[in-house]
Symmetry: D2
Subunit: 338 residues, 4 copies
């Protein structure tokens, strides 16, 4: 049984604690707030509680560390954990800079440790089904990916809304799309002076004809989590808030023919719609199992440090573009690395 230590037990931490507790032994939890630790201790009396996360790094019973602290502390804690010989599972986004992400990747490779990023959506039944539809060729060529991820959300002070919300879409695209973006243009604005952007729009360009767009917003009166994926053969609408039919596959699209005047004729195809049955397992459970499996087998995680780095590079480029009101930022360095 792999001993696990959890660092950070605020919003998402309790879910990690619950899932890892059911799968293996959670040895200790670290959090800065004593009150929070006390509350958790009532529910998990056998788990050691500490306000100093370094205690976990020195604990030999702990083989793997799960990090759910604010983003700007990920790098330091993850690096310390890897240096202490621990396997590391970090919340998304991996780090606040691509340089930091590269250092973590190198450290993990040098020490032969698992470095995995929590891109939860990749482990949902819905996204796995969509990947299957794309990869099998059933959808044809992917023409566009369009996502809206908005709600009345917690305004964060250290990162803007794309680092908080768009990262989910970037993770999904990284997993399901056959190509990777080569440039980004983004716009957005902050409605509170001196605070990070709370509304943003990202366009990603790909080398083929395809395009992706993500709309994220912390200041929407309604919650929307809806993604359209247009294929040349089929199209998908993925609505994460639908209780049962999250993924709908439309046999709709355009058909092309050349008419006698050598001009393209565009016709429409309207066929059936189909909502496949999805695996409803909790994604985080699947993901935690995958992390433990990778530790045991040495297998590379699906959402490893490289995936984390690819996302951080896009987030950096998008932030740069937002600052310059839509200016195109190429993802060259990233292409070299890929």
């Amino acid at each position: 049984m792999i001993g696990v230590g959890l660092i950070g037990c605020g919003y998402w931490g309790p879910n990690l604690l619950r899932n890892f507790s059911d799968l293996t032994e959670v040895v200790a939890v670290a959090d800065l707030k004593e009150e929070r630790l006390k509350h958790i201790s009532g529910r998990y009396p056998a788990v050691k509680m500490t306000t100093d996360y370094e205690d976990l790094l020195h604990d030999d019973r702990i083989e793997a560390v799960v990090i759910a602290t604010p983003v700007n502390s990920h790098f330091e804690i993850a690096l310390g954990a890897l240096q202490a010989g621990k396997h590391v599972f970090v919340e998304k986004p991996l780090t606040t800079s691509s340089k930091h992400a590269e250092i973590l990747i190198n450290e993990a490779e040098r020490r032969n440790r698992v470095l995995m990023v929590d891109h939860t959506f990749v482990y949902t039944g819905a996204v796995r089904k969509i990947r299957e539809l794309v990869q099998s060729g059933e959808m044809g060529d992917v023409l566009y990916y369009d996502s809206v991820r908005i709600n009345l959300g917690l305004f964060q002070h250290d990162v803007n809304v794309i680092w908080d919300l768009a990262v989910h879409d970037l993770a999904i695209m990284d997993y399901i799309l056959p190509h990777r973006p080569c440039a980004v243009s983004a716009t957005g604005c902050s409605h509170l002076q001196g605070e990070p952007e709370n509304i943003a729009y990202l366009t990603l360009f790909f080398e083929d004809l395809s395009i992706a767009h993500v709309h994220v917003n912390w200041l929407s009166p309604v919650k929307i989590r809806r993604t359209l994926i247009g294929g040349s053969k089929k199209m998908v609408v993925y609505d994460d808030l639908e209780p049962s039919e999250k993924v709908k596959v439309y046999d709709k699209g355009i058909t092309l023919s050349e008419d006698t005047r050598y001009r393209l004729q565009v016709g429409y195809r309207a066929g059936d719609m189909w909502a496949p049955q999805l695996d409803n397992s909790e994604a985080l459970r699947t993901e935690a199992q995958h992390f433990l499996w990778c530790i045991q087998t040495g297998e590379q995680p699906l959402t490893d440090g490289h995936a984390g780095l690819r996302l951080v590079r896009i987030l950096e480029a998008a932030s740069e573009s937002i600052n310059d009101r839509g200016k195109l930022v190429e993802l060259e360095a990233w292409r070299l690395a890929a």
Copy 2:
């Protein structure tokens, strides 16, 4: 009774014909397709049919001309009609270039004729109610306008999707917002080589903190017509496909306070939602009445040539930005004119 002539009777023309017939006398209809004229003649036996629109310009019984032809013919026909002394009602967008729009405005002013553009949404009960909410101050400051206007639509060969669909949102914003945009960044792509863009994303920047964004797409498996308008006091969701509750007003938003560490604290306000009863009159009827009224009284139409020109300028700037993948295009000339 004002004699009216209709030029172009394809997709939208029959609606114009029906409404103007109920309000005044439609003297003649011109269309290039004889078959179409024959079909219409069966329903409107008293109306003269012709394949040559110039017949209408020479007909003294016709005081006003309604133009519902493809966009790239608007300028020539409208100019001819104004020069023949007719009042003119043109489909949106007014023209394909701002220069042409300016010429029409000047011609109409010189001859003291009414020049009105069919920005239909401005005449809906929903948009009029939203304007009232904005203008009365009930919504507070407008923080953002975000619209999605997508469906599996007719691919056009002469104009791209923003000239076809985004023009509706530009018309709505022109009518309801207190400020006008000063720059635009737009992206998009065509999935058919050599054809105009079929998917596009526009960001409009305003001089205050606010921002607007419009997503238009001819290649969506589902039809969506949904606009969010975030205000500092209230927020509106306008869903044009809702049969009865098109406009929902949310008493939701953020509240600010400074905490003891001089840092902004952002809180949430979640209150009631309210869907006002709307005037369900057919917008086109209201608009046709307004056109006839302006002819009779000499009043300036709500959606006059200047409004049409403002939209054409934004569409030009957006097209330029799309070609340069998101490059910011300032709307200077437009600001001078405003």
Copy 3:
């Protein structure tokens, strides 16, 4: 070309007029209100207008009469038309009593005329698809039919809400179900003293295990048109207000197995959902064509006088049951006739 005369041109009549005009020659329209005739005449200048429907019965150019008058006049007008040798198409419900319906059937058979009832839903793409799913065995045994058909509707003075709205569900069931009901229990009430019931609930019992229920209401704040059809293999949700996916087929249900203690074990089956592409032709057009076809060929209409009679018998039984607050009323006479 079959000459048609239309009697009654109020709410539904103009739709009949439009469709029959497109398919054949409408010779004359009769309506009691002169003003209405005048309005229609503007649109159909070639059609003769009269306030005396008997004019149509004496007109030799008219082979077929379409009756869209209030229910309580159907019998007299239809009988007169048959006696004058005309084919007859009557609005639903056929008559206000089963005796009257029987007389009309006999008269039509004796004179070899077509007697058809306007059960419009039977001619929709949605209902035809559902029939196909039921008849092919794809749904398995039909276990129940449950329909809600409510809105803020016109209160009628001469018939209660079941004669106005439930008749649609009875027509659909008559068309799609393999069995016919043998008894009915109904409840309802009127919220206006002395007026017919404006809210009602019907349960129909079948000889197999199946059951049907219809909820109709003129006093609902929201409009609902939703039917569930539970089959032993598949289940259908038919929502007539859905713009595109009116019929959804669920691969859901129960699975049975006997456990070792000889007790039934009920399990669940949750599979894909599928929304078949439907024929979107206007139902009334299809139906009018069918009527003309039956006149020409002598074929029996799908919704003939017998179908009309079956519905009237159920409506009579349901009204009797409502008066006695749910008392079971058997449909014996009807079974004998079937």
Copy 4:
């Protein structure tokens, strides 16, 4: 701190355990399944576990017993608990017969103990808001209550679907309506031979003009929880599955006037819709607090034994009516008691 014992810890029990643990001291849990106890013990190591519920009745630290066992054991356990001097909180429905409910009420009154039934919906923000709208007169007279409560649910062997699902609506009506039903007509059927009804329809008659209807079904492909309440001034749609706007208040209805021919003219009123902000506290928390409060103060619970009895009487009458296919069953005894 009031010591609490929980008997039965299957489907609903863990929710009771969690809430009572947060509010007071849960001393012991009894359940027949050792495995289940073992699992719970992991989470609640301080709570005593036993397979013999009588242990709890003899435990002096336990003042109050919470019963979440199958319905047919409620009576025996609750009676034992009251006789042992405990306060009792029982899952709905209180008992399987009105005689048993009466015995429990008498026993509780004789011993001056609190007897409360878990009618959870009564403690939701939504139902409390609806009661306020009804009681304040804002809705006018209640004309009807119509509820649909269906899903693909667990088929139960000991009680039919009305005892499982309709009981929720009966509890809501008992709480919000000013009058009580005087008769019931119900229909339903079982699709598994020898098993209780899995689909049922209840009509409740009231002495004024109003009517109530409840549709419950364990065999629906979709989950619906929607209640319409028609008032003479306003109407409510309560959709429990809506994430945020569960209660919508429509300013819609009919208006009456007498025309010159002394005949009632029915007009329509269509006004705004309004979705009030609701208290989102967990209902079970509120309810558990109320139970503890009643123990401390001697106050009568909102959902006391009498409320439980009223519901059981209606359920008995409805079952009797279902067996006789809709036969009206009067609720006389119940009226005497009220």
